[in-house]
C-alpha cells in the first residue's frame, strides 16, 4: 500500500479485530482480495488464456477440422508464413492502417475537443454529432459507406462528377481500397477519441490556466507547454486503445471488401481467419496470431514507455 507522509495511514495503524457479532471470523483482506479476483481469473483462463495458448501451440502443427490428425511440423509453418507474399501484404496493410488512422484520429479529435471546449452554444449538439459515427452500429455504417463508395450508383462519384472529377473504383480498385477503409476508420474513431480528450481537457484545473496567464503564456505556447503535457495520460490511453483496435481490424474490411481486390485490404486478423477456414491450415493461422499479438504488444509497450519517460508523466 502506498503511503504518503501526510495520510493517516503513516501512523502505525491499529486495525480493530473485533469478532463479528455472529461469531464468524471475518475474512482477512487477502482472502477477500482473492475472492473478488477469482471470477475474473476463471473467465480469463477459460476464454482468453487457454484458448490463446491452445492456438499458439497449433502453430507447430498442421491441423484443421477437416484434417483432424495432428501432424507436428516444427517451425515449417513459421518459415512458410513469414516468407509468403500474402503475409507481408497483410502485415503491410495492417501497419499502414494503424500508422495513419491512430495519429490522424487523435489529432482531429484533439482539434475538435479543443474547439468545442471553449464554446457554450451548440457544444452539446456538436459532441453528440461527432460521437454518432462511433455510436452507430459498425456493420450498418460499413454497409452505408459501401453504398456511398459504389462506383456506379454511389453518392461520392456522383458528387465528384459535379466538379468534373472522373469516377474512381474506390473499394473495387486495389490502390484506392485501403485508403477508403482508412477514411472509414478515421471517420468512425474520431468521435470516440474526442470524448476522451474532452474529459481530459475538462480535468485540467482552471488554476493552471490562470497561473499560465500570469506567466504570460498564451495561445499556442500555452497549448504546447501546459495543455499538451497535461493531456499526456489521455493521449497515451487513446493511442494505446486506438492502436489495439487498429491492429486487430477485421469487421470493416471483411464487410466492405472481403479482403479487397487481390488482398489489398486483407489485415492480419482477416488472414488468421482465412488461413484457418478457407485454406484449412490452422497452423499457419496460429503463426499469424502470434505475430499479431507480438505486434500489438510491441506497439503498446513503446507507447507506454514513451509516456512514462515524458517529464509531465507525474505519479502513475
Amino acid at each position: 500500500m502506498t503511503t504518503s507522509p501526510h495520510s493517516i495511514s503513516a501512523r502505525p495503524r491499529i486495525v480493530p479485530t473485533v469478532e463479528h457479532p455472529v461469531g464468524r471470523r471475518r475474512m482477512s483482506r487477502t482472502r477477500i482480495g482473492q475472492l473478488f479476483v477469482l471470477p475474473t481469473l476463471l473467465f480469463l483462463l477459460a476464454f482468453a488464456i487457454v484458448p490463446a495458448v491452445a492456438n499458439f501451440t497449433l502453430s507447430f502443427f498442421d491441423w484443421s477440422p477437416l484434417r483432424p490428425a495432428f501432424e507436428f511440423v516444427g517451425i515449417d509453418n513459421y518459415v512458410t508464413v513469414l516468407q509468403s507474399k500474402g503475409f507481408i501484404s497483410a502485415l503491410g496493410n495492417t501497419v499502414i492502417y494503424a500508422i495513419i488512422t491512430v495519429p490522424v484520429s487523435i489529432a482531429l479529435a484533439l482539434l475538435v475537443a479543443v474547439g468545442i471546449m471553449g464554446r457554450l452554444r451548440g457544444a452539446g449538439a456538436l459532441k453528440a454529432i461527432y460521437f454518432m459515427p462511433t455510436a452507430a452500429m459498425l456493420v450498418a455504417m460499413a454497409v452505408v459507406w459501401q453504398f456511398i463508395l459504389d462506383p456506379r450508383v454511389g453518392l461520392l462519384n456522383e458528387f465528384l462528377s459535379w466538379f468534373g472529377i472522373p469516377p474512381s473504383g474506390w473499394l473495387l480498385n486495389s490502390s484506392t481500397a485501403l485508403p477508403s477503409i482508412i477514411a472509414f476508420g478515421i471517420w468512425r474513431q474520431t468521435g470516440y477519441m474526442m470524448i476522451l480528450f474532452l474529459a481530459g481537457l475538462a480535468a485540467i484545473p482552471r488554476t493552471v490556466y490562470e497561473a499560465a496567464a500570469l506567466d504570460g503564456l498564451h495561445g499556442l505556447k500555452r497549448f504546447w507547454h501546459i495543455t499538451w503535457p497535461m493531456l499526456a495520460p489521455t493521449t497515451t490511453f487513446a493511442g494505446i486503445i486506438g492502436t489495439i483496435a487498429a491492429v486487430e481490424l477485421f469487421d470493416a474490411p471483411k464487410i466492405m471488401t472481403d479482403g479487397g481486390p487481390a488482398g489489398a485490404t486483407t489485415t492480419l486478423s482477416m488472414m488468421i481467419q482465412q488461413e484457418g477456414f478457407t485454406y484449412s491450415s490452422f497452423g499457419t493461422g496460429a503463426v499469424v496470431s502470434l505475430v499479431l499479438f507480438i505486434l500489438t504488444l510491441a506497439i503498446t509497450a513503446v507507447q507506454w514507455t514513451i509516456s512514462r519517460r515524458s517529464p509531465m508523466a507525474g505519479p502513475q
Binding site: 482473492q34 481469473l41 483462463l45 477459460a46 488464456i49 487457454v50 484458448p51 495458448v53 491452445a54 501451440t57 491441423w63 484443421s64 477440422p65 477437416l66 484434417r67 483432424p68 490428425a69 495432428f70 507474399k85 462506383p151 456506379r152 473504383g169 473499394l171 473495387l172 480498385n173 486495389s174 490502390s175 471488401t257 481486390p261 487481390a262 488482398g263 477456414f277 478457407t278 485454406y279 484449412s280
Partner: protein
C-alpha cells in the same frame, strides 16, 4: 497468490483438454466396402446443411419429405446455414471440430479439388458406382470426381455458362437481335456499340469474381487457353495473355464492366445496365422475372483463331458427406440416393435454372413443357453435350492457387496491372506452392 501453482496446473489441464477434444473428431478412415449398403437398422437422423435458401428451400423440403416417407428409419434434419458456400463451410468446420458436425453439406462443385485432399470428406466412389441409384446423374457425376480418383460429392444442381443478350438493346443499337456474337472479337465489337457511358451502361458484364467460377475458364478454353493442366498453372500462356489484354481493353473503354462480386455483375444485366452477360444459366428465372422475355441465350463466344470443339465447364452445387460413424454413413448414403432419384434431379431444373440431371430427364414431360415455355433455357441444354469438368488446382494448396489465379485475373482485367505481369507473377507464386 498462494494457489498460483494450482491454477497453473488447472490451466495446463484445460489446455490439454482443449486440444484433445479437438482431436476427438475421429480421423477419417477409408470407408469399409459395404459402408454405404442400403437399409437402415435403427432410427437415425441425418443432419443436412444447405445454403442459398431462396434458391433451394422449397426443392430440398419436398425431396426430404419424399425421402423420409420412402426410407424406413430415416429422418433428415435439413437446415439452411449461412448465406453462401463460404459461410456454410466455415460453420461446418467449427461444428466438425467439436465432434458435432453435419453429415451432409452443400458445397460448390468448384471446390472439388481442394476437398479431395481432406481426410474428413468421405470418398463416395463406392456409393455412386453401385447400380442404378445414381443413373439420374450420369451427366454430372464426373464433375465431382477429383483428379486423384476420389468422388468428392454428389452433384445436386449443375449449371453451365452461357451468353445472354438483350434483344431490345441490340435493336436500339442497330444490331441484328437474332445474331448474337460468336467470336470474342465480335463480342467486344458489339459491346463497344452497345455501351452508353453517359448512362453508365456497359455492353458486356462477365461473372469473373470467384476463384472457382466457370465463366472465365470457359472463355479461356474456347480461345485455346487453359487455367491448369496436369496440376501445373497454364494460365499465363500467350493465348491467355492475349485474351485478357483484349478484355481489359474493353474495360478501359468502358464497354466491359467491372464489379465487386458476381451478384453485382448479374444484377447489371437484370437492371439493363449491361446489354450482354456471360454467366450461369441457373439464374435464368431471376432474369425472366426482372426483364421478361426480352433476352436470349447462346453459347459462350470463342476466339476467332480457335477451331477446336466447344467446351462448357460445369459447376454448381454438390452434396459432400462428412459422417464418420458407420451408422451415419449408411443413413447419409440413403439420403443421397433420394437426391439422385429421377424425380429429385429434375427439380433444380423446374424450380430454378439449373440443368436437368441426365439426358434421360430430357424426355420427362414436365421438362419438355418448361423448355417450350422458356426457350432461353435451350442454351443450357445444348451445353450439356459439351460439359466438362472445371480445371482446378488440387493438393494441399489448391484453394490458395485458385485464389491467386483469380486475384491476378481481377487485377489484369480491371487494368490495375499489366495482364502479362499479373498472370506471370501469379503463375510463379503457384509454382512455389504445394499443388497437384
Amino acid at each position: 497468490m498462494k494457489s498460483q501453482p494450482a491454477f497453473a496446473a488447472l490451466a495446463a489441464i484445460l489446455a490439454a483438454a482443449g486440444l484433445l477434444t479437438g482431436c476427438s473428431s475421429t480421423q477419417n478412415s477409408a470407408p469399409a466396402k459395404d459402408a454405404f449398403a442400403p437399409g437402415i437398422e435403427e432410427p437415425t437422423t441425418v443432419s443436412l446443411w444447405y445454403t442459398y435458401p431462396t434458391l433451394f428451400d422449397g426443392t430440398i423440403a419436398s425431396i426430404v419429405k419424399t425421402c423420409e416417407a420412402k426410407v424406413k428409419n430415416l429422418t433428415i434434419d435439413a437446415q439452411s446455414v449461412g448465406a453462401d458456400y463460404n459461410e456454410l463451410n466455415h460453420r461446418a468446420q467449427t461444428a466438425i471440430a467439436s465432434g458435432n458436425g453435419p453429415d451432409i453439406t452443400l458445397e460448390g462443385i468448384g471446390n472439388v479439388e481442394p476437398l479431395s485432399d481432406l481426410p474428413a470428406v468421405n470418398n463416395l466412389t463406392d456409393l455412386v458406382d453401385n447400380g442404378s441409384d445414381f443413373a439420374g446423374l450420369d451427366s454430372f457425376l464426373p464433375l465431382a470426381k477429383a483428379g486423384n480418383g476420389v468422388q468428392v460429392g454428389v452433384p445436386y444442381a449443375v449449371s453451365a455458362p452461357v451468353l445472354y443478350w438483350n434483344r431490345e438493346h441490340f435493336k436500339a443499337a442497330g444490331l441484328d437481335p437474332d445474331k448474337p456474337p460468336t467470336t470474342i472479337e465480335e463480342l467486344l465489337a458489339d459491346a463497344a456499340k452497345l455501351a452508353n457511358p453517359a448512362t453508365g451502361r456497359v455492353g458486356l458484364s462477365i461473372d469473373y469474381a470467384l476463384s472457382n467460377n466457370f465463366s472465365v475458364p470457359t472463355i479461356m478454353a474456347n480461345s485455346g487457353a487453359t487455367v491448369v493442366k496436369d496440376g501445373k498453372p497454364e494460365f499465363a500462356s500467350d493465348k491467355s495473355i492475349e485474351l485478357l489484354a483484349k478484355l481489359s481493353k474493353g474495360v478501359k473503354d468502358k464497354s466491359v464492366g467491372v464489379y465487386a462480386d458476381n451478384s453485382q455483375s448479374t444484377q447489371a444485366f437484370d437492371t439493363q445496365q449491361s446489354s450482354m452477360h456471360i454467366g450461369s444459366i441457373a439464374s435464368l428465372p431471376q432474369r425472366l422475372k426482372s426483364l421478361g422475355p426480352i433476352f436470349s441465350t447462346t453459347k459462350v463466344p470463342h476466339a476467332a483463331d480457335y477451331s477446336g470443339a466447344y467446351t462448357a465447364f460445369g459447376s454448381g452445387a454438390m452434396w459432400v458427406m462428412y459422417s464418420h460413424s458407420d451408422a451415419k454413413r449408411r443413413a447419409a448414403a440413403e439420403a443421397l440416393r433420394c437426391f439422385a432419384g429421377p424425380e429429385a434431379t429434375k427439380l433444380p431444373f423446374i424450380n430454378s435454372g439449373y440443368l436437368p440431371g441426365s439426358t434421360s430427364a430430357l424426355k420427362d414431360p414436365d421438362v419438355q413443357k418448361l423448355l417450350q415455355e422458356q426457350p432461353a433455357r435451350q442454351a443450357g441444354i445444348d451445353a450439356m453435350k459439351s460439359l466438362a469438368k472445371l480445371p482446378a488446382f488440387g493438393g494441399r494448396d489448391g484453394a490458395r492457387a485458385a485464389d491467386a489465379f483469380r486475384d491476378s485475373w481481377v487485377l489484369g482485367f480491371a487494368g490495375q496491372k499489366n495482364p502479362a505481369d499479373a498472370l506471370n507473377e501469379a503463375k510463379a507464386e503457384i509454382e512455389a506452392l504445394n499443388v497437384k
